[in-house]
């Protein structure tokens, strides 16, 4: 039996073409676009964490901004105040985020549905307040400035052009790992517990442990993105880690289609580029961005990745008909 994860030759070719195109971007586009694309990759990494929880486990995580913030502050504080090498800051951020996610996830991940979503929102609000309150550590609204460029010995990532490769490289790696995970035992189990928790329990799936592990993983991705952000922007302050940022990270997977990994890339590109493109319209560009989100859903309810699939896929055969009502209403907390 063929390995289920092997790609067909055509898909390899497509992937190679996309990679080549991506590698050529810094040479062919204006620098501000390269910079935006760098942010797209950073958002994509954090959004991937949210997407894994949402798409695979059905968990709405509104706390990603906190983990992103922890990563950013670990890098900022570590490098600026403690003089650590950047890698130490990044690892510390991921470790602290992961530990916190485990600690808080343990009790809260027994909750379901909107209760869990509210718990993550509460975490986001409380975490945001602590970022303000502990200004001896975070600098409060003054923030921490002068974060050095990421220097990995061989290359110094101190320009948008170089950072672009780093950020997209990390995102690509994270996507490959996510793909491995989804195809594995844990990935299948996560989807099973999302669709029918009772039946999953009967198959001996330890749902609680699995959720905690996925939450920790998601948080570590958030922290990684936050560290990259800190080094790229060279300054961090509380304003970047509020609920709005969590919502942005949520948009990344939802726009693309939460269950698809290519959707993460599409969603990240959307949230990073579309507002920029729309800002040419002046003050109403936020209105337009909101409407663009609405338009995306109306054009392709399964997310933008779904649109791609549809464009690629077969035309509808004649004789099919449309259901009048929704097949299955959202499952709700009772």
């Amino acid at each position: 039996m063929a390995a289920p994860c092997s790609l067909s030759a055509a898909r390899w070719a497509l992937l190679a073409a996309v990679a080549a195109l991506a590698a050529a971007v810094p040479f062919a586009t204006p620098v501000e676009l390269v910079d935006r694309l760098t942010f797209a990759a950073i958002y994509g990494i954090a959004g991937l964490g949210v997407g894994l929880l949402l798409g695979q486990c059905g968990i709405l995580n509104l706390a990603q901004a906190v983990f992103y913030g922890i990563g950013a502050y670990a890098s900022a504080y570590g490098c600026v105040e403690l003089g650590w090498p950047p890698v130490a800051g990044i690892l510390a951020g991921m470790a602290v985020s992961g530990a916190l996610a485990g600690l808080i996830g343990w009790p809260t991940l027994r909750l379901n549905g909107y209760f869990l979503a509210l718990a993550t929102l509460a975490l986001c609000i409380a975490g945001g307040e602590l970022f303000f309150e502990w200004d001896w550590l975070t600098g409060g609204s003054y923030g921490i400035g002068g974060i050095p460029a990421l220097d990995l010995g061989i290359v110094r990532f101190d320009r948008p052009e170089t950072f672009y490769y780093l950020a997209w490289g990390v995102l690509a790696l994270a996507l490959v790992m996510a793909r491995n995970l989804i195809a594995s035992r844990d990935g299948l189990a996560a989807q099973a517990m999302r669709d029918a928790p009772d039946a999953a329990a009967v198959l001996a799936i330890d749902m609680h442990a699995l959720k905690v592990k996925m939450f920790v993983l998601s948080a570590m991705l958030g922290a990684l993105a936050g560290s990259l952000f800190a080094h790229h922007v060279s300054f961090v302050s509380v304003q970047s880690f509020g609920v709005e940022r969590s919502i942005l990270f949520l948009l990344v997977p939802v726009l693309g289609g939460a269950r698809s990994l290519s959707g993460i890339v599409i969603g990240a590109l959307f949230v990073a580029l579309v507002p920029e493109a729309l800002s040419a319209f002046g003050e109403i560009h936020h209105v337009l961005f909101g409407l663009a989100l609405v338009a995306v859903v109306i054009l392709c309810p399964e997310g933008l990745a779904g649109l791609l699939t549809r464009l690629r896929g077969a035309r509808r055969p004649a004789g099919a008909s449309a259901p009048v009502t929704s097949a299955k209403e959202v499952e709700h907390v009772a």
Partner: protein, 254 residues
């Protein structure tokens, strides 16, 4: 066949919901390899007993024993790891997964790869999933799901869902399999074929506990218990039960 009380036993189990008594002092025992039926009017507490036996509900009183061990406090997945598996009266399938992966997850207990291995795509992690999928093929074929193997389970009909659920439950080679109305929604021939298959499995040592209202299907059971208002009112072979006047009156209606 005399029940071997050491294998599976329900001991004086009672359950009420906010003053509404659903089960009252139910005791029964099942020996290894036995096929035992459970029947009774609608709402008599059959599914509730299954819920208690498999860990979905704690009993208000009494205990559940498996292989001589009190499992009353174990969680659903812990009981499943011991080999206690059930199906649901309303089939619960993993709609987002393909039919094949639904069955492959039945082998979850046999898979070992950790999350880190999975993330890095370690050979063992890949192999396990591939093996489980391969092992699902005979079951898919057996339950007529082969043509649907690659479709999402969300598209299955009521009958197909029932088949899928039973196939998935069988996948992990459970020691005690509790089936809640397994023949509902199946065609007669499917029901009979399932009955034959279950008899074969019981001959190989699998223990079966079956709730059903389907007399033809219940031919597979050696013994059966009849519940009424949460109490066992009759126990015996199907012939004995079908002849019991009280059971006839409240259950068969003649």
């Amino acid at each position: 066949m005399s029940p071997d009380p050491a294998f599976f036993a329900v001991d004086g189990v009672a359950r009420s919901f906010g003053g509404f008594q659903v089960l009252a002092d139910v005791s029964l025992a099942i020996g290894q390899g036995e096929v035992v039926g459970l029947l009774g009017p609608n709402g008599s507490g059959k599914t509730t007993l299954f819920n208690i036996a498999t860990g979905f509900l704690p009993p208000s009183a009494g205990a559940v024993r498996f292989c001589g061990r009190d499992i009353s406090r174990l969680s659903v997945q812990e009981r499943s790891r011991l080999g206690v598996v059930r199906t649901f009266q309303t089939p619960k399938v993993f709609e987002g997964l393909t039919v094949r992966d639904n069955v492959a997850l039945g082998f979850y207990r046999q898979m070992r790869a950790g999350m880190v291995e999975s993330l890095f795509g370690a050979p063992r992690a890949r192999r396990e999933v591939a093996d489980a999928r391969a092992a699902s093929e005979p079951l898919l074929a057996r339950f007529g799901l082969k043509p649907l193997a690659d479709t999402a389970a969300a598209r299955l009909t009521a009958g197909q869902r029932r088949n899928l659920e039973v196939a998935r439950a069988l996948a992990g080679a459970p020691r005690l399999l509790m089936l809640d109305e397994p023949s509902t929604g199946l065609t007669r021939d499917e029901a009979m074929a399932l009955a034959d298959m279950l008899l074969d499995l019981s001959a190989e040592g699998m223990t079966l506990f079956v709730v059903s209202h389907d007399m033809e299907f219940l031919r597979i059971v050696g013994r059966a218990h009849v519940l009424s208002f949460g109490r066992i009112i009759a126990t015996g072979t199907m012939a004995e039960i079908q002849a019991d006047p009280q059971v006839r009156q409240i259950y068969f209606g003649s």
